[in-house]
């Protein structure tokens, strides 16, 4: 499999993830807002995060769409997914009550499955960053 094809597939997977979860969150806005409001760590920032998170995911997906901005997209994906994974682990270890703020079918995953799912995508983002770094963007 060529490097370019692999990068295309990696970015397509991340685009799918971000577009799907962001649209699911926006479609289920009321539930998402309540879930964030109940989250013990981010209650104060919920009014901002409720919009910033899905919009940020769409922006990252936009970066991943174009070869020229794809590296930034991979970096941002790595950052966001790592942040979310740390948040999940912290919630599992420190919080008594853990509402799920994820979108679409992901809300049916168990917490441990969700962490594994996130780690897989963090690894995919890392591979993307490492490969894209050495790859000349398509003109």
């Amino acid at each position: 499999m060529s490097r370019k094809l692999l990068l295309d597939i990696l970015s397509a997977l991340l685009v799918f993830l971000f577009v799907y979860t962001s649209i699911s969150k926006l479609l289920d806005y009321d539930t998402f807002r309540r879930q964030l409001g109940q989250s013990p760590f981010i209650t104060l920032y919920a009014p901002v995060i409720v919009w910033a998170l899905p919009i940020g995911e769409i922006i990252i997906a936009g970066f991943l769409l174009y070869p020229r901005t794809r590296l930034i997209g991979f970096y941002l994906s790595f950052f966001l997914l790592s942040l979310f994974t740390f948040y999940l682990v912290a919630m599992l270890r420190l919080s008594y009550f853990i509402p799920c703020s994820c979108g679409g079918v992901l809300q049916h995953l168990s917490w441990n499955a969700h962490i594994v799912f996130n780690i897989v995508f963090v690894i995919l983002s890392t591979i993307g960053v490492l490969m894209q770094d050495r790859h000349t963007p398509a003109q």
Partner: protein, 72 residues
């Protein structure tokens, strides 16, 4: 570039379609402890009708008999 763009755009289109299709799909019906019937996803029912620690049964799905207990 065109091929790259089409693959990523195809993924974006599929994701958007899946999200909208999931939203349009009929939600599960749940019976609360007071015998009230409500409709929604398990997360929605948990948030709206069963807040707090999950150490007691709060609602039962009428379709699959799945109780909403996530953490004891």
């Amino acid at each position: 570039m065109k091929k790259t763009l089409s693959l990523a755009f195809f993924a974006a289109l599929c994701a958007a379609g899946s999200a909208f299709a999931g939203k349009m799909k009929a939600d599960t019906q749940w019976m609360l402890n007071d015998d009230t019937i409500v409709t929604g996803t398990s997360t929605t029912v948990k948030i709206l009708y069963c807040p707090g620690p999950n150490n007691v049964q709060c609602a039962v799905s009428l379709d699959g008999n799945v109780t909403i207990i996530r953490k004891t």
